[in-house]
Symmetry: C2
Subunit: 155 residues, 2 copies
């Protein structure tokens, strides 16, 4: 059971290297980026400016699938890959929630972006708080973990 996924655009950010990319967009709400949707898909952006927040789906194109139990960036205890957001996953799909600041044709200006410059875009979905906001959710092992430098050799 396999299927093919294709890039629908590219995400442009100031994060040129993994070392400089934030661990989560929520840690850098001011980080700006541009989402370029390829012209053949730009029609699908109609009415996107009605939304303040978007999910971006992207390809972890510079991460390889790896061990199923590993050290995350934010903890020194290993966890299963499905209990963390690490990029080295069996399927190399990432998501991030960004704020939509504006649109010019096929270009979206967003903030709070954590992905590497040049990351292939796979999808955009509107973030709808009624469906997606669960303030009662537990933090799991993330509880109390603050942003820090990415430890070496975690990929």
């Amino acid at each position: 059971m396999e299927f093919r996924v294709k890039a629908l655009g590219l995400i442009h950010t100031d994060h040129a290297t993994k070392e400089h990319a934030p661990i989560q967009g929520a840690f850098r709400p001011d980080a700006l980026g541009t989402v370029e949707v390829f012209p053949e898909f730009a029609e699908g952006l109609q009415d996107i400016e009605l939304f303040s927040h978007l999910y971006l789906f992207y390809h972890f194109d510079r991460a390889e699938p790896g061990e199923l139990v590993r050290h995350p960036f934010l903890d020194d205890t290993p966890h299963g890959i499905f209990a963390m957001r690490h990029p080295c996953r069996p399927n190399s799909i990432g998501i991030t929630v960004v704020r939509l600041l504006g649109r010019q044709e096929n270009l979206l200006t967003v903030s709070g972006i954590d992905v590497l410059d040049g990351t292939p875009l796979l999808d955009i979905k509107p973030y709808v708080p009624r469906f997606d906001c669960h303030p009662e959710a537990s933090e799991g092992w993330f509880a109390g973990k603050k942003e820090r430098e990415k430890p070496a050799n975690r990929e």
Copy 2:
């Protein structure tokens, strides 16, 4: 720019047909399901029970990519595909947030699930409210839209 995505498991629900599947999991918080992770990936579930809510990534395996501007289920005005959560997308990837009720080895019992029975699982990520909960987000065109029967011919 393409890559291959594979099923890591199967999602079992009571939603046998599209007509009976809820439009969003949030509309059916009591809908139960079982996430079966294939044994070769089960090690990646370590510590997942620390989390109360999970993102499930799945393959819209019974939806074909289609028109980029179309009618969603919840509105009678057409919108761009990136401004809606419709299954007929350029890349057939869906997400849903579910509540994790329990785990038995490679089987997760979840609630609030909206996907069709037998849907291929692509990934599981922990839902972390610090990263994922944005109560200030706008509802866009979803504002005031309540659950309803899926109108005919919307796929």
